[in-house]
Structure formats: structure tokens, C-alpha cells
């Protein structure tokens, strides 16, 4: 054994952690608090039929606009339907549109943005010009126009969200890819003869995706609010399917006497948004360390 390698073993006898500058950083607690909140919403949505005390569509006109009681914890709406049961069932469509309405554009935008940044040249030019065109329109007007053309419903809402919201993801990831692309470990991956696709996937992408993960939770809130806004305008989820935004809109005429009809769905949306914000902020703090 050479002198060199015995020296190496001696050097390695001291714990390597002592020398390494960076410690593995723990996720901040707020991420877990947020995750708990969001998990609660997801559980409610999944087990809605088991949890809800009434059928959300069952009308009882005689009992319309009842105040909260032991029978109806949150009272009844203008058609005598149980508000609590409607809130619980509404979480199904709201969470679905929230998650998919953020995930689909995130996937499309991340792929396009990463390819644009990594390949550069005309590919970059074409993708980014398309994104300029999309961004030049006022977001909501474009979504409303698209949903109007495609017809109301979950599918057309998701299509509209995806066609528009990918732009933000593409820009985010592209900027990061441009930064990471010039780092030495990417040069090292190139030097060892890896294929461009693999370099992008294993070396560039994992190191570029941090900002996207920070943005994603707030975009889920955005998609849920977007759905609520569309429903408010009558372009979202159609009656009688319960949906938080539609419930807020429906409760408006009664805001003076039955104030809870709009307020409680509003608070439910806020709670969901809070959970996701905690996750997003926590991830941001974590990636900065």
C-alpha cells in the first residue's frame, strides 16, 4: 500500500461531517402544520359520503334558510339543503380542480421551460414567444373566453387553466435552468459523455425545481379561487353540484340575516389556502438554507 493511501485512511478516520461545511437542513415545522391542514381537507373530500350527515342535494323547502341547530350544524340554504353536507361534498370538486389545475400547468410549463432553457436557440425562442403571447392577454378574460368556448365543466376549466397557467412555470424553471446549466457539475456530466436528455433530467432539473415547488402550493390556492370565481360567474361548476365559490355566491342575497351562508364557505377556502401557504413558505425557507 502506498504512503498516499495510508494517509488517506488516516485522514478519513476523522468524521467527514466535521469537515463538510453544509449540514442537511430539516424541513421547518410550519410545513408539517400546513401538511396536516391540507391532509385534513383531503381526508374530508375522500370520505365525504361517510362524513356528511345529509345528502347534499336533498331539498327541504319548508326548512329553507334555517339557522344552525343540532340537526343542521351550519343551517340550511335557500333550498333547505344541509350546508355542512354541501361544504363537505364541495371539497371534492374544489380540491380536484385545485390540485389538477395547478399540477397540469406545472407539468406542461416545467417541461417546456426546462427544454427551452436547456436547448436554447430557436427552441427557446419559439417556446418563449408563445408564452409572451399567452401572457399578453388578461388572465381571467382569457380563461372566461376559453371556458365559454369549451362549455362549462371540470374538464374545460382544467384545459383552460393549463393552457394559460403553464407560462409562469415555464418562466420560473427556465431562469433556474439557465443558471444551473452553466455550473461545473453539468459540465462534468457533459464531459463524461451522458446524453443531453439524461443531463437535463438527472443533473439540471432536480437542481432547478426548487422555486417551482415553492410556487406550486400558492398556485393550488389560485386554481381553487379561479374555480370559485368562474362558478360565481356561472361558468364553473353547474348547479346543483356543491362548490365553495358557488355557495359563496348563492349566500350573498342573505348576507344580512344568514351571514354564515357565505362566510363559512369563505373561511373553508381560507383554511385550505392557509395550509398550502404554510407548506409553500416552509419549502421556500428550506430551499434558501
Amino acid at each position: 500500500m502506498s504512503v498516499e493511501s495510508t494517509a488517506a485512511i488516516a485522514a478519513a478516520a476523522t468524521p467527514s461531517h466535521a469537515i463538510a461545511g453544509v449540514e442537511r437542513v430539516r424541513m421547518p415545522r410550519r410545513v408539517w402544520v400546513g401538511a396536516l391542514i391540507v391532509a385534513a381537507y383531503v381526508l374530508v373530500a375522500v370520505f365525504a359520503p361517510l362524513i356528511a350527515p345529509y345528502d347534499p342535494l336533498e331539498q327541504d323547502i319548508v326548512n329553507a334558510l334555517a339557522s344552525p341547530s343540532w340537526a343542521h350544524w351550519l343551517g340550511t340554504d335557500e333550498l333547505g339543503r344541509d350546508v355542512l353536507s354541501r361544504l363537505i361534498f364541495a371539497s371534492r370538486v374544489d380540491l380536484l380542480v385545485g390540485f389538477l389545475g395547478a399540477a397540469l400547468p406545472a407539468i406542461l410549463g416545467t417541461v417546456l421551460g426546462a427544454v427551452a432553457g436547456f436547448r436554447g436557440g430557436w427552441v427557446d425562442g419559439v417556446i418563449m414567444r408563445i408564452s409572451d403571447v399567452v401572457q399578453a392577454f388578461p388572465t381571467y378574460i382569457l380563461i372566461i373566453a376559453l371556458v365559454f368556448v369549451l362549455g362549462p365543466g371540470v374538464t374545460s376549466i382544467l384545459v383552460a387553466f393549463t393552457l394559460i397557467a403553464w407560462v409562469a412555470y415555464a418562466r420560473l424553471i427556465r431562469t433556474e435552468v439557465l443558471r444551473v446549466r452553466s455550473l461545473d457539475y453539468v459540465a462534468a456530466a457533459r464531459a463524461s459523455g451522458l446524453r443531453p436528455g439524461r443531463i437535463l433530467w438527472r443533473h439540471v432539473f432536480p437542481n432547478s425545481v426548487g422555486q417551482t415547488l415553492v410556487y406550486l402550493p400558492s398556485d393550488i390556492v389560485g386554481a381553487t379561487l379561479g374555480l370559485a370565481a368562474l362558478s360565481f360567474l356561472g361558468l364553473g361548476i353547474q348547479a346543483p353540484t356543491p362548490e365553495w365559490g358557488a355557495m359563496i355566491a348563492a349566500g350573498q342575497p342573505y348576507i344580512r340575516e344568514q351571514w354564515w351562508l357565505s362566510t363559512v364557505p369563505g373561511l373553508v377556502v381560507v383554511g385550505f389556502g392557509l395550509g398550502l401557504s404554510l407548506i409553500g413558505e416552509g419549502i421556500e425557507e428550506w430551499t434558501r438554507k
Binding site: S5, A11, S16, G21, D184, A189, S192, G193
Partner: protein
């Protein structure tokens, strides 16, 4: 063996690198030629900004964005000659070791996975076979307890171990030519010695050729057979390391030697080279070192650049005799 030694693994002729930064075009590498024989180790020495690292990166087409190279780069491997297509030699004959083991290892990949990836580029081994090969490679570069370290993330490893991981990943493709870009600059002195020893040993064991870029003549002296000294984008002197160190023929080499602690006996004050390297945006005509040279004469500022000499020993100085007079 003699026949083998005569094969030139890498020959670079009249290499130019142009960098476009903010609308201005610089030529940080301005007509560099060098060659490396099979089994030989060439050092390229110069200050930061001399163009040494860019020259090395240009060999594998790894210039930063905005960078373009021009000139002839030819490889001659056991499998044949290749020129013009770097894709064919990356991971397939040539490998590279980078300066900063912190930034040159992907922080999102475990050490073992990183090496395994390089192993699989060429061999097409199964995942499991690659794993065994990774442990073997890690052991061969002196990483103790390789099985455990293979599962570690780069930030959990010390600087020295990181550099060994990078070397293992470079060796994974079984290169005939290893390019080293200041592989020990970021390490402390004892670790630096270990890595240099490792590179020397690996070169002997594998008969690899090497190009070793460094700002430190002492480091180059330890691992290289020949040296090329670069200044302001050009090679100013070449020759066998020991001869160049003993009797430099370019005042820049001499000044570099005088300012290196390793070559100064005793504890006297170190000499510094007055002034600073010329701005690559406006290189002076004639000898680019003339403005800082203690021996400069009028004709130095007009002298066209040529490396005068032979394969063995050459200098760009038109008055190399001044150094002999000075030392006499």
C-alpha cells in the same frame, strides 16, 4: 513501449477561444498549440485569466455560453483517430476532473449514483454490476469504507473525499486521457498532496495521458513530465518540467518561479511580479509580458509572437539570453 510513447494522444493546433460578453468579443485564448503523447503528463501553468482553463475546456467543447473555439483538436486513441466531434470522445477516451469539488458534484445525487452513471455510459452494465464496479472504483481512489460512502450525499463528504469521488467518476469511463482543471486548488495542503499522489499513482497504473492545468508550478512539477507556461492567452514557454524550473527561458516563467514559496530556499520575502496581466479586451502588440518584464527592450513591443525552439524546448521570448546573463 517506445512506439507507444510516440503516439500523440491529443494535439491542439492554433486554438482560439472567443468570448462574447455584453456585446464585446474577447480572445482569452489566442493561438495556443500543444500536444500530449501517450502516457505523458503535460502541465499548463498560468495566472488566473491566462486562458489555461478555457483552453482545457475547449478541448472537450465545454466553453461557457457565449464562448466559441476555433482551431484544430485531434485525438488519437487505441481505437483510432478522431477529430472534429467532441461528442465522440466525451466519456469515450477522455474524462475531466474539475476544480471545485463542491460545485462539480451534483448535490442531488448520492456519490455512488454519480459514479454509477459514468460507469454505465460506456459499459452498459446492469445496475447491480455497476454497483460492484462503483465500490471497486471508490476503493481504487483511496476512499475508505466505500460501500457506506457510496450512499452519502456530496455535502456529507469532505473536500478531499469529494475530489476522490470526482476522480472515481472520471476513471469510470476508463479514459486514455485525463484532463484536470486545477483539481487541487480548492483543497488544503495535506489533502492536496494526497490527491496529487493519487493522480500520479493512477497515471502510472493505467498508463493514462494527462493534461493538468494549475496556477501552481510546484504542483505541476509533482505530477507532470512537460509544462507549458501560459500568459495572456498564449503559451510563452514549453519544455520538460525539471529543465524549465531549473533554467527558465522566458522572464515570465522566471518571475513566476521567484514568486512561488516552494522554490525559494529559506524564509526571505517573496518576489511579486509588478503590475497586473493585460486586459484581454486590449492586449498590447508585441510581447504581452513586456510591460511587466524587468528585461524588456524596445524591440519586445513589436516582436511578433512565435514559439522559437523545437519539440523539446521552446520560448516566445526574443531575448532569452538576458535570463542567463541575469543568473550568471
Amino acid at each position: 513501449m517506445d512506439e507507444e510513447m510516440s503516439r500523440t494522444v491529443l494535439s491542439v493546433d492554433d486554438l482560439h477561444v472567443q468570448l462574447t460578453l455584453g456585446g464585446r468579443t474577447l480572445s482569452p485564448v489566442d493561438g495556443v498549440s500543444f500536444h500530449v503523447a501517450a502516457g505523458e503528463s503535460l502541465g499548463i501553468v498560468g495566472e488566473s485569466g491566462s486562458g489555461k482553463s478555457l483552453s482545457l475546456r475547449a478541448v472537450l467543447g465545454l466553453l461557457p455560453s457565449g464562448g466559441e473555439s476555433d482551431g484544430s483538436i485531434r485525438f488519437a486513441f487505441e481505437r483510432g483517430e478522431i477529430s472534429g466531434d467532441v461528442e465522440q470522445v466525451r466519456g469515450h477516451g477522455v474524462a475531466m476532473v474539475f476544480q471545485e469539488p463542491m460545485t462539480a458534484l451534483n448535490p442531488t445525487m448520492r456519490a455512488g449514483d454519480l459514479i454509477a452513471e459514468a460507469v454505465r455510459v460506456r459499459s452498459g452494465l446492469s445496475r447491480r454490476a455497476a454497483k460492484a464496479r462503483v465500490i471497486e472504483l471508490m476503493a481504487s481512489v483511496g476512499i475508505p469504507d466505500p460501500a457506506r460512502r457510496a450512499r452519502m450525499w456530496p455535502h456529507e463528504l469532505s473536500g478531499g473525499l469529494r475530489q476522490r469521488v470526482m476522480i472515481a467518476a472520471a476513471l469510470a469511463t476508463e479514459p486514455e486521457l485525463l484532463l484536470c482543471d486545477e483539481p487541487t486548488t480548492a483543497l488544503d495542503v495535506t489533502i492536496q498532496d494526497q490527491i496529487l499522489g493519487l493522480l500520479r499513482r493512477l497515471r502510472e497504473e493505467r498508463g493514462m495521458s494527462m493534461v493538468f492545468v494549475s496556477h501552481d508550478l510546484a504542483v505541476v512539477a509533482e505530477v507532470c513530465d512537460r509544462v507549458a507556461v501560459m500568459y495572456a492567452g498564449r503559451i510563452v514557454e514549453t519544455g520538460p518540467v525539471d529543465e524549465v524550473l531549473r533554467s527558465p527561458r522566458h522572464p515570465y516563467t522566471a518571475a513566476l518561479l521567484a514568486s512561488a514559496p516552494s522554490f525559494q530556499g529559506g524564509g526571505g520575502a517573496l518576489a511579486t511580479i509588478p503590475g497586473s496581466p493585460p486586459d484581454p479586451r486590449e492586449f498590447p502588440s508585441g510581447c504581452r509580458f513586456a510591460a511587466r518584464c524587468a528585461f524588456a527592450r524596445d524591440d519586445c513591443r513589436q516582436a511578433p509572437y512565435t514559439l522559437a525552439g523545437d519539440e523539446h524546448r521552446a520560448t516566445a521570448c526574443i531575448h532569452p539570453e538576458v535570463l542567463m546573463e541575469a543568473s550568471a
